[in-house]
Every structure is written in C-alpha cells, then in structure tokens.
C-alpha cells in the first residue's frame, strides 16, 4: 500500500518497504579478469542506515564506488531511485572517503564550499545562502573555531569532520561512507560516529539513507539499522542482520551483545 497515495502523513525517513532507494540485482564488479564483488543482490530503503561489513579487501569499497557511479558494473542491475548510478539526477549521492582529501591551499570553510563552487559552473562564485549553509555545517561538525584554519593546522579527526561537512554541503539524499573514520584512533572515531548519528537523526539534512562500509563489527552494530555481512573477495552477501535497537546504543546492553554475537557468527569464515 502506498501511504502517500492515500494521503496519510509519512515520515520520509521511516523505512518504507516499497521504496527501494538503492537496488542491486545480481551485481558483479570486475577489474580486468579479477572479480572484485558479486554476484550480490540487496536493497536499501528510504530511512535506513546500512552497513556493508566485510574483511579488508573483500570488495565492499568497490560496491560503494559503483553506487557512487565512479566505477562501472560488469553485469547485473544497479539503480538509484530507478536510474543508473551517476545519472540519477533526482537523487544526489555524496561519497565520503577514508582519507579526508582536503585541498591543502584552502581553509576549512573554503574546502566545505567546494561542492557549491563546482555546481555553479564556470563562475565559481557562491551566493550568500550557500555561504550560510557552509557556516551552519561548520558549526554542526564542531569546527566553528577552525573555519579559517588550513588542513595542516587540523588534527586527523578535525580533518575528517571537515570532509563530512563538505560531503553534506552538496545536500546528498544518499550518504556513502567508505570507512570514514577508519584511520583515526578509537576515541576520536567513537566521538565522530556519535556526531554522524546525531546529524543523521536530526533531520537537518535531506539525507534519506546512509550506506557505510566498515570492517568493524561493533561499529556496524552501534550505527546501523541493518548490517549486510559480506564474504571475502569477491564480496557476496552472507547474511543480513537487522539491528532493532534504539539510539543511543549501549554496548553493555544484553541485546547489543546478542546482536554482536549473531553478526560475529555470520561474519566468521566458514
């Protein structure tokens, strides 16, 4: 049943079974003769936070890059809101990399406005509303005091927060995260994961879905609504683990521990 069609109020960020935002159907990704991922099928619903969990080098990042339209798929079908990746004009996809990739000659704020500058085309001049949006994002990621600092003056954690703000600057509907905080220490990483969740839950953005690549089982359980457990290369779907826990999630909680155990068992190489 389509709730919109019958005029009922719909929370756009609540899972809607009939609205597969990202659909992968028997997708295979190949580099030359080497299979990087697949065949794999899954779907991501509107309102979902999904983790792609798998060992290093299993091809999960390749999957994410295919969704971002950066690499082609060898066979199968991959669509975002019904259109091929990279062409889905109605849906904006933002990809955050493992490395911050800040331009060293730009300040935090200048880095964050980059997507807006590029979207203006040749003029490269951003308008006032884009500038205030950037300032709002700087505040949201807690970098207000460092808005005019250069990347080399920031810590690794601050650099990743700036990268997150830059990714959000393009107002994505779907946020793709490639082990975004993987290079950081555990304390910084947890703090940033909480920051990310609070932004996701706040509804201050257009975000409809988040897909995060990770190889950390506790991180997947702490963050996601569903965990897609992947095999080693080429990545295939081993199991889907739903995580029906409210936020904030307490690792000491018995349900948390149970789901952690289930995920661990699913991820164990057989």
């Amino acid at each position: 049943m389509n709730l919109r069609a019958v005029g009922l109020p719909v929370d756009s960020r609540a899972p809607q079974p009939d609205a597969g935002l990202v659909l992968a159907d028997n997708v295979i990704i190949r580099f030359g003769d080497v299979d990087a991922a697949g065949p794999i099928s899954f779907s991501v619903m509107s309102g979902e936070f999904i983790s792609l969990l798998g060992p290093s080098g299993c091809g999960k990042s390749s999957l994410l890059r295919a969704i971002a339209g950066l690499i082609p798929i060898a066979s199968g079908r991959l669509s975002i809101a019904g259109q091929p990746p990279g062409e889905a004009a109605a849906m904006r996809v933002g990809l955050m990399f493992q490395k911050p990739l800040l331009l060293p000659w730009r300040t935090t704020l200048q880095n964050i406005v980059l997507p807006a500058e590029i979207a203006t085309g040749s003029s490269g001049a951003i308008d006032r509303s884009e500038r205030s949006q950037a300032l709002e994002l700087v505040r949201m990621v807690g970098l207000s005091e460092f808005a005019d600092a250069y990347p080399h003056q920031l810590s690794g954690g601050m650099q990743q927060r700036a990268a997150l703000a830059r990714t959000l600057m393009s107002d994505p509907d779907i946020l793709l995260l490639d082990e975004p905080f993987g290079a950081l220490d555990e304390f910084t990483r947890e703090a940033l994961n909480e920051k990310l969740l609070s932004i996701w839950k706040s509804g201050a953005t257009r975000l409809k879905a988040v897909i995060m690549v990770t190889h950390s089982i506790p991180e997947a359980v702490a963050m996601s609504d569903r965990i897609l457990v992947l095999s080693s290369r080429p990545a295939r779907l081993l199991e889907v683990v739903p995580v029906r826990l409210s936020h904030p999630r307490d690792p000491a909680n018995a349900d948390f521990a149970r789901i952690l155990g289930v995920t661990r068992a699913a991820a164990r190489p057989s």
Binding site: W105, Y150, H152
Partner: protein, 247 residues
C-alpha cells in the same frame, strides 16, 4: 643572526683568509690565481653594465621558458596525444648539451641580445616542463574521484585541483632553472657577443687579466643566488602549505 647563517658565513670568511694567506705566502703570480684583496681592489663600475646584460638575458629567457613550459605542461596533461608525440622529443632536446646548440643560435639570431635569451630559455625550459607535468598528474586517484562525485568538468578539475596541486612542483623547477638560465646566457656570450659576463670572461682570460675573470665568475654566482632567493621568497608565500626539496 641565526646559527644557520653564522656557521656557513664563518666558514666562507675562513676560506677567503686561507686563500689570501696562501697566495701571498707562496707568491703565486696574479695571472694564475689573484688574491681576494686584488680581486676586490680592482673592482670597477663597468662590471655592473656587464652584470646588467647577463642578468637581463637570463631573466628574459627564464621568464619566456617559465610561461611556455607551464602552458605546454597543461596541454600535455590535457591532451595525451600531444604528450605522447612531443614528450620523447622534449627529452631528447633536454639531453642535448646547450654548448652544442649555442653556435646555431648565434648563427640564426646574431651576436646580440636574442641569441642569449634563446639559450637561456632553451636550457631552463625542460626542467619546468617535466616537473609541471609531474605536478599536474600528482593528485592521487581519490582526489580525482572526489571531483567526479561533485560532477566537476575538466576545466574545473584543472583550475581547482591540478594547477594549485602542481604549484609546489612548478616553483621547485623554477628554482632549478634559475641557475641554468644564467648558464645559458653565459654560454651564448662565449660563442659570440660584445657584452656580458661571458664575454668578459673570454676576453679577460685571453689577456691574462685573471682578476676580472674572477670578478665575472663572482658576479654570475651573485645573479644566480639572487634569483634563487627571490623565487624562494615568493614560493614561501604562494605555496605556503608545502615545500618540495630542490637539489
């Protein structure tokens, strides 16, 4: 004064003193090795004119080379066919000694200003070209993917990523080329000229006026050092985020 300055300066002064004492004590004839005091004592205002010629030729050639090499590098990186076709030729020209080409330049352009400018430009062109190409290609694949996710066009990728990214490489190459430009100008003057430090060296050594040869050599070194540090001054301000090593 910093230690980094004081230590090399003290050594320099020490060497000059040793030189002076050695020349006087061993009674070396002036035409073989003049003492530092003689070299400085016979300095003449006319040296400034010769410095002006050589510095002007070197700077002009250097500037032409810088502009052409930067433009060429952008074309090379933007259009692969041009790079494939011209890069091997560029490398061949780069390995050809300027001394071998200089007589041709004088033959074509005459004994005046332009043959020296051409020699200076020719010798300083290739390091800038090669390094700038390297710099334009230096942004890692992730950076290019980032720009693709933002749907940037080729022009934007150049303007906002590749060109700023290559600036440290560009400056590092300019510093290498600045001393080469003087070599080019002086070699040009050796072959055929009526002015300049190269001309002064040739004429003075033929007449065994060795102090003047030393004065010219010192002046050439001074031009090189001033160009190098002027470039470094600008480099530190423009490319404030990184400095590549210059050998």
């Amino acid at each position: 004064m910093t230690r980094a300055f004081v230590v090399p300066f003290s050594f320099f002064v020490g060497l000059v003193i040793v030189w002076q004492v050695f020349v006087v004590a061993a009674a070396i004839p002036e035409y073989l090795l003049p003492s530092p005091l003689v070299i400085v004592g016979t300095l003449d205002k006319s040296l400034l004119t010769e410095i002006g010629y050589t510095a002007g030729e070197a700077l002009c050639g250097f500037a032409i080379a810088g502009v052409l090499a930067f433009t060429g590098a952008i074309l090379f990186v933007r259009f692969r066919t041009i790079e494939q076709g011209l890069f091997p030729i560029a490398i061949t020209l780069k390995t050809t000694p300027i001394v071998a080409i200089a007589p041709l330049l004088v033959l074509w352009l005459g004994t005046g200003w332009w043959s020296k400018v051409a020699a200076a430009a020719l010798i300083s062109f290739f390091p800038v070209l090669v390094n700038t190409v390297k710099g334009l290609k230096a942004p890692e694949a992730d950076f290019q993917d980032l720009f693709r996710t933002m749907r940037a066009d080729q022009f934007q990728v150049f303007r906002k990523l590749r060109v700023p990214y290559c600036l440290p490489y560009f400056f590092s190459a300019l510093k290498i080329s600045s001393s080469l430009a003087i070599v080019g100008a002086i070699v040009g003057e050796f072959v055929g000229a009526e002015h300049g430090l190269g001309y002064l060296i040739v004429i003075s050594s033929a007449h065994l006026e060795t102090p003047a040869v030393f004065q010219a050599i010192g002046a050439a070194a001074l031009i090189g050092i001033s160009m190098f540090y002027t470039l470094e001054f600008f480099e530190k301000r423009i490319v404030f985020w990184i400095q590549l090593e210059t050998e």
